[in-house]
């Protein structure tokens, strides 16, 4: 299983599902939905948090939140 925290800068991925946790709904409300494409734009120094491009928005998540997003790499 690949999760979003392993995406490298510039890589693209497709969201398969959001793993169950108390943050599942928060992530979905922000627009992290199965079928959406995301890519990694930046990592903050010390590799955390990570800035993901999700369609036309950029959203910063910590590694621990990115681990809740199951993805399949696209390139």
């Amino acid at each position: 299983m690949t999760t979003a925290d392993t995406i490298k800068i510039g890589e693209k991925a497709k969201i398969l599902k959001i793993l169950p946790s108390e943050l599942t709904l928060n992530l979905m409300e922000m627009g992290f939905l199965p079928g959406k494409h995301i890519s990694l734009l930046q990592r903050a120094p010390l590799k955390d948090p990570m800035a993901f491009r999700l369609e036309n928005t950029v959203i910063a998540l910590r590694k621990s939140e990115a681990q809740l997003i199951e993805v399949i790499l696209e390139n």
Partner: protein, 710 residues
């Protein structure tokens, strides 16, 4: 077909603006309302309610700006307000109409919120904002199709360039809002008889409202305990999993929105790299990013200390001479004394802050408005975490440089309670602008204006005071992180909006309205204290008074003028010492003696428990009470020349001044902050703990400082 509202128009009505964060809601609010804005509080919480009244023909419209939110299910305090307002739990702010603002380039998320509001059944209209950025990204929206799909009016705007604002004004003045038909079939969410029961008891309109109430009843302070228990019982009996219902609702909603979007959105793939992405390479750079942040902070400090010094000096001088000329104009008497020695210095003590506060709010406004603030959150999150703080804590802490109150209120967008509580507990340790005049005066008295290398010693000491605050914040936060046991997941989810140029008009509006609120709120307290202080300093128990005055040695007849002057001064000093406030100062003197303070400073400590800036006006009052006003000495010069009548040494030497500054840096001397902490933490526990730890920290540190420097 949409249900058309009654043609009868309301003569007074309320329109709430609602939308995701960063969709330009506040720009639209500013465009609609200009400088008419007022700030109030929602009942029971401290979330600011920004509103303005507009007269449109013979109608009165009140426009309310709600905090940005992604859904009506609250995750943070800000969102609780939105939830409460939309569900009509707060009767005083229930909107007649909702104006939902959607960012055209992220329609899906925007419509998520819009369709939730539709299901609540509120009359509404949709504003599709930021058409310019959407076009740049190759996104086109067929507004008419969207109107047909949703059944509520849709307006396309670009608020930054003022495009479409007239359309919004027309829409509001003609009340063209429409009550939508539900977007999802929400009757399926709850067992039918349960939602019917709830609707009846709380006089709700539909099952979605009932569902909302169930979902959040236990977090809603406005509900009575009886209602709360009743809901808990009913839900328990019906036996269902509300979380899985909500998950299903979310999925269904997005699926339905997807169908709408397929009809209304046209996308052309534009390969062009966005300017924001290029800028982020610089602003979020491993080293460069921090260098820029540090540079911006330095610029803010420079502005607050150097640029505002000129208007502050002018204000200070103005009030000193006002006091003098008023005392010359009015006949001598108690009332004149009250005005010249109590009220004018009291008002002067608050007015002098205006340049600094306005500048700070302007800078914060610009940082927020350009989209830079969320980059700071991104850069700082990992660094703040070991201290039990969060990237989002940076905003409250920076605001804390201006004033702890907006800082603590800005902590509301921190989603989890532990991070937020720690932020609230430490924010008052940041050196707020109320401490600045205390620092300025004391540094001016005790620290020579010599240069060490290229640096001015006074400026270095000032910087040191601010750094001391930051160190105290980090250490205290770290200790709290170890002490507080909460089983809660700390998380960070923050959108980084496009970089944009600041809208100067908006910056000015924000600066003006925030400064106004601050000055009037703080001003009321300070003015009241100044008057009470003057009374306490002017009157005292008569027997003690006569005794003290009689004890002053009267010079022989024909003594030199100098001796007469000294006699006069000693007499006044004795008078003050025997006043009520003098007695209080004397009473605490043994406790503060080890810190290097005399009873006059003791008086200032007592009075400035209410607000630090009172230190200055207390000093002004105390020393004007002791001498004539007409010499127009500013406070600093007066204090500098203050000599201990017993030892003949200056009262404010280096050790005392440093000790006093350290005390003011740490002590919780701000009633307004305490009140805000009380409201934000919903009880007395945390403000009491905060006061105790801060006062202890202040006392111990001031003691150490005095011992080191004396």
């Amino acid at each position: 077909m949409p249900e058309v509202l009654t043609p009868e128009k309301l003569s007074t009505f309320t329109v709430s603006l609602i939308g995701n964060p960063n969709v330009g809601k506040t720009t639209i609010f500013n465009r609609l309302t200009g400088l008419r804005q007022k700030v109030g509080n929602y009942p029971g919480v401290t979330v600011d309610k920004r509103y303005a009244s507009l007269k449109m023909g013979d109608q009165n419209a009140t426009i309310i700006d709600l905090p940005g939110t992604y859904s009506i299910y609250p995750n943070s305090e800000d969102e609780v307000i939105v939830h409460r307002v939309l569900n009509g739990l707060d009767k005083t702010s229930k909107p007649d109409f909702v104006l939902a603002v959607v960012d055209m380039s992220s329609m899906e998320r925007g419509l998520f919120l819009v369709t939730q509001i539709m299901d609540l059944g509120l009359p509404m209209a949709v504003v599709l904002n930021m058409s310019d950025t959407a076009e740049e990204q190759g996104i086109k929206v067929k507004a008419h199709q969207l109107y047909k799909a949703l059944g509520v009016p849709v307006i396309q705007t670009n608020a930054r360039s003022n495009k479409g604002i007239n359309g919004i004004t027309d829409l509001i003045s003609q009340q063209m809002f429409e009550k939508p038909v539900p977007f999802l079939d929400t009757d399926q969410l709850l067992p039918g008889d349960l939602s019917a029961k709830i609707c009846e008891r709380f006089s709700l309109e539909n099952s979605y409202q009932a569902y909302q109430l169930i979902r959040f009843h236990d977090k809603e302070p406005i509900l009575s305990q009886e209602d709360n228990e009743w809901l808990g019982r009913e839900v328990g009996e019906a036996d269902f999993d509300i979380k899985s219902i909500q998950l299903k609702e979310t999925q269904d909603r997005y699926a339905a929105i997807q169908q709408v979007l397929e009809m209304v959105v046209e996308k052309t793939d534009i390969k062009k790299k966005r300017l924001t992405d290029k800028l982020d390479k610089v602003f979020l750079h491993k080293i460069g990013g921090y260098a820029i942040f540090l540079g911006i902070l330095l610029l803010i400090f420079q502005a607050v200390f150097a640029w505002s010094a000129v208007p502050m000096d002018l204000i200070d001088g103005f009030f000193a001479s006002l006091s003098a000329s008023v005392s010359g104009l009015l006949p001598e008497g108690v009332l004149t004394d009250l005005i010249t020695e109590g009220i004018i210095p009291g008002i002067g003590g608050i007015v002098i802050f205006i340049p600094q506060i306005a500048l700070l709010f302007a800078f914060l406004g610009i940082l927020e408005d350009t989209g830079y603030m969320s980059r700071v959150v991104f850069l700082m999150d990992r660094i703040m975490r070991p201290f039990g703080l969060n990237g989002k804590s940076v905003v409250p802490l920076i605001s804390g440089i201006a004033c702890a109150i907006p800082g603590i209120m800005a902590s509301r967008n921190i989603g989890n309670w532990k991070d937020r509580l720690i932020t609230i507990m430490v924010t008052p340790l940041m050196s707020c602008s109320a401490r600045l005049p205390v620092y300025v005066i004391l540094i001016g008295i005790a620290v020579p204006a010599t240069n060490i290398g290229p640096f001015n010693l006074q400026a270095l000491v000032m910087l040191g005071m601010y750094l001391l605050g930051v160190v105290a914040v980090l250490v205290t936060a770290w200790i709290l992180k170890l002490v507080l046991q909460f089983n809660e997941r700390s998380y960070l989810m923050v959108e980084m909006p496009l970089f944009r140029l600041p809208r100067w008009k908006d910056v000015v509006i924000t600066m003006y309205s925030k400064s106004k609120t601050f000055v009037f709120e703080a001003g009321k307290v300070i003015l009241a204290i100044s008057i009470v202080l003057w009374v306490l300093a002017t009157y005292g128990p008569s027997s003690a008074r006569e005794e003290a005055m009689a004890a002053v040695e009267v010079p022989a007849d024909g003594a030199a003028e100098e001796a007469m002057l000294e006699y006069q001064h000693n007499l006044e000093s004795a008078e003050l010492e025997s006043s009520y406030i003098g007695i209080a100062g004397r009473f605490i003197e043994p406790a503060i003696r080890p810190l290097g303070y005399d009873w006059k400073i003791g008086i200032a400590l007592i009075t400035s428990f209410a607000a630090r800036e009172v230190f200055v006006s207390t000093m002004a009052t105390l020393y004007s009470v002791g001498s004539e006003v007409e010499d127009e000495l500013t406070i600093q010069e007066k204090l500098k020349s203050e000599v201990n009548p017993k030892t003949g040494e200056a009262v404010f030497n280096l050790a005392t001044a440093i000790s006093l500054m350290v005390f003011y840096a740490f002590a919780m001397q701000c009633m307004s902050t305490l009140a805000v902490v009380y409201r934000e933490t919903k009880g007395w526990k945390w403000p009491v703990i905060q006061t105790i730890y801060m006062t202890a920290l202040a006392y111990v540190s001031a003691f150490i400082a005095y011992q080191l420097f004396s």
